[in-house]
Symmetry: C2
Subunit: 259 residues, 2 copies
């Protein structure tokens, strides 16, 4: 296949639709996260290394880590742009950054993500640079700033206490056939109630994905307060047809700010 080279970064327009907004009329962080995944998907498909092509050769992208740091959130009815670009690409990992901005270009926040590519049959990592003769390497953009720290591995205190268990269902499962990455983020943010969100906003989130979850697996969330306003959450699953053993699927760190 041959592809016309496009600009390295791609910008996609979104709107904070009112029924995607929370009680304070701000876009839910989960909807913003999904918009980032959609932007990543549009950008990579347009450039010849997206899921639409990968699925025809039994490969797919797997999100390994993600970090989001917002100084403000889009409000109901506001339009916003997500610009995304590939910062680096190696054999087994590629990093993709995001800028969220107002339509007139004022940055509202940033995201960082790390992705692996796997073979959908063996579930083993495959060489990203083999795709279309290393096409992704032509799109590496090192110069565009993404002024937030790298997405963290999120090391969790082993003494965290179980706080909530959740059964996964049909609407949790995305086009890839397993639980949508952003659902874990929503489950974590749901650990706090409306009163908390009246006086706190999310300053930064780090998510490290460890294993995939399937329909009917039971998720359990373990929470520790690492320092004031910083919480670490481990999510485990018990598989529907498993032996009852808990398997870690995801680790998150959430940093709040007082408002």
């Amino acid at each position: 296949m041959s592809f016309k080279l496009l600009p390295k970064a791609g910008t996609y327009n979104f709107k904070a639709e009112p029924f995607h907004c929370d009680f304070q009329h701000q876009l839910f962080m989960g909807h913003l996260g999904n918009a980032m995944l959609n932007a990543a998907d549009f950008h990579s498909n347009d450039r010849g290394f997206g899921m639409n092509y990968l699925n025809t050769i039994n490969k797919t992208w797997v999100l390994s880590r993600m970090a989001i740091e917002m100084s403000e959130m889009p409000r109901a009815y506001e339009r916003f742009n997500i610009t995304t670009w590939v910062e680096s690409a190696m054999r087994y990992f590629t990093s993709r950054n995001f800028e969220v901005a107002t339509p007139d270009g004022r940055p509202m926040g940033y995201g960082r993500s790390i992705w692996a590519m796997i073979d959908t049959q063996t579930r083993q990592p495959t060489n990203i640079l083999d795709i279309n003769d290393g096409l992704i390497a032509k799109y590496i953009e090192k110069d565009r700033p993404c002024p937030i720290a790298n997405a963290s591995r999120v090391v969790i205190n082993e003494e965290a206490k179980p706080k909530r268990s959740i059964a996964t269902t049909y609407s949790d499962i995305d086009v890839n056939g397993h639980v949508n990455s952003i659902k874990y983020l929503e489950h974590v943010l749901d650990l706090w109630d409306l009163d908390w969100y009246k006086s706190h906003r999310i300053a930064r989130i780090d998510i490290a994905f460890v294993a995939e979850t399937h329909q009917k697996d039971i998720l359990t969330l373990y929470v520790t307060e690492k320092e004031p306003l910083v919480y670490e959450v481990r999510i485990t699953k018990k598989e529907e047809k498993g032996n009852g053993k808990e398997i870690e699927v995801c680790r998150q760190s959430v940093k709040f700010m007082n408002i």
Copy 2:
């Protein structure tokens, strides 16, 4: 306030973003329902009887019933249009219809809805025709077809059995401060698993809303099979600060078709 008269019907463009689609790469019915609510919101705001204006005079719209009947669902990456118009408006109720169509105008399905208006302080119904000197009456469109049956009251068999209980959390609460109407639909559709959806599609849904639910209320879903492929679901709540009594919040009828 004075408003320039716009066309009676309004058409809004949407895209079935891949991370709003299910494992079969079709838009989730819940996302379609939210898109309809967003279209209703855009249409009414543009025409001077939307929530943005109503909130300034301590009034709001309350969704009373909704029906959706789709012959096909938008697939991942496809654009679709939702056209919405007011079919009738009386003192205490107005009916609003929806057509979902491909960008070239081929209908994919329809929706019907009935809305009341309440005073946000007394929670009592208020006269819809009092708003901006009965402005809504200028927008009644009786001639445009909406070839599906009216949204049903959904009469439920009292012998339904409890099937699942769910705690409501931060991300269930929408801009109105209570559980998003469409969440009830998602909870009902989550009663079936991926295997079911591999061989069945949703032909029609009716939802009748009875009471509002607040954060931390516990929802319980009661299900009966009315006839083959037709299920009726009653949702009750136990209020967080209540006396443990169950209060009916919503009734739904879901009709499936074999595929």
